[in-house]
Point group: C3
Amino acid sequence: MLLYFLGMFGIAAFAITGVISSGKKDMDLFSVVFLGMVTSLGGGTIRDTVLSVEAVYWVKDTSYLWVAFLSSALAFFIVRFIDDKKAVFHYADSFGLALFTVVATEKVLNLGFPPTIAITMGIITGVAGGIIRDVLSHRPPLVLGREFYATPAFLGALLLVLLEKNIPAHEFNSIYAVALVFILRVFAIHKDLYYPSWLLYKKR
Amino acid sequence: MLLYFLGMFGIAAFAITGVISSGKKDMDLFSVVFLGMVTSLGGGTIRDTVLSVEAVYWVKDTSYLWVAFLSSALAFFIVRFIDDKKAVFHYADSFGLALFTVVATEKVLNLGFPPTIAITMGIITGVAGGIIRDVLSHRPPLVLGREFYATPAFLGALLLVLLEKNIPAHEFNSIYAVALVFILRVFAIHKDLYYPSWLLYKKR
Amino acid sequence: MLLYFLGMFGIAAFAITGVISSGKKDMDLFSVVFLGMVTSLGGGTIRDTVLSVEAVYWVKDTSYLWVAFLSSALAFFIVRFIDDKKAVFHYADSFGLALFTVVATEKVLNLGFPPTIAITMGIITGVAGGIIRDVLSHRPPLVLGREFYATPAFLGALLLVLLEKNIPAHEFNSIYAVALVFILRVFAIHKDLYYPSWLLYKKR
């Protein structure tokens, strides 16, 4: 149940980033909503079609579709009153990344897949929506920037797998993992957190 | 049967837009044909893999593949004699959008999915091919421009669902819906049709 | 068995191109590894989800995932010592293109699909990973350049189908086809090999 609501929050968060992102160009209501929905539903759609264990989640349960639609539409009307759009964008993106990565990792684990697959699908689910958003908005994907992005997702997915292995009965495992991803990512944004330069691959 | 031929026309129309789009750069025959085929088969491929009810349509019936291939190859040789490439591009794109949206909506309805899924998959099928084309040709996707694009697709899919619900025996439901999408889109191009400015999301 | 190892080599080759490609921007270890993995696993993932005959190959056999991960990580540390990155990039890309196209064509043939589907899926598997890499790195896809790219892939897939039909017992069919793609592509790079100008579609 907790997973379910966390997933819904992630959808709303990513929908907002899609709406803000599209706002860089003149756009009509439905195009903005479309980009919001693709951003928020894209990652999980890739996860479910690649695993193909069951129907894609928003086809099976259309409430996901409605949450994506309504939060995109709502964001469309509200976003114009926000002053610091960039901050909201980055916070919502980090929040969505954290929620999607952890929820997907747990979901794939529960389906009986090995940890390697769970962690991989968790990262893919977390970053794919944002990648689609950035490619469609015609700008370099956030995940390929210098600051930590894939790294927090990886560490969060790893933490969840370790917690589930060792204290499976514990209720708040996913909360801890979500917090780890979110905090690392917020640090990355604010403190310009990235690897020491010998770990950075730099073209001379 | 009508649906079948409408689908074939949509494939040919989108193949032409792919060929025209790729023509902005020096390109060889097979690359152009490749882009034409991806543009025309991309939307339906996403629809079928996401729904995963049956095999992807052009795998099950290779005539779709041949129509995409032959119309792309033909367009490659003919397109150079066309003067107003931009007009042909926009008309063919509108035509393909109209046909794909409506055909997909009807197909998904016939498979027994609820109207929300049918409308969503209709819009995705209609716009996805063009998005892939625009991303590969390295320019901002048409759907994220200011003029009506997702909106006509949405209204057409909605009209079809309403008609099928109320006059299911009527033979020309899909024709009406196709006409609605096409006419709205042509108006959007010629008359610069878009939402009133309070509905436009604009970055100040 | 031969196919298996050829596939692994293809994954390593494409992983290297992903790492080199991402190196154009400052990037962290995991983002680079992520791009390497997406480049190397992307094509086959699309093939398997579109055919949906069996689970995606790296979900069924995680050694593919490990090869992609380890070669990306290794490439990350080694690539900085390479002087002519552009040459390595193009050779590795040609090698990956050749291997993926041929391995995928053979795999799809063995699954019992007709030659048209096998050739189509072979080309898609060969070029898709590179397309994703180029789109994410924010530059025009290699396949849409002027030099031969889709053409060698097509000819190699065609040669394999013809060989398998006529001398199915022969052990080295796939080697011949791989060699054809690779040699044509290397010629294309070094000798600027492309269609005669009447076959080129050029915008005046």
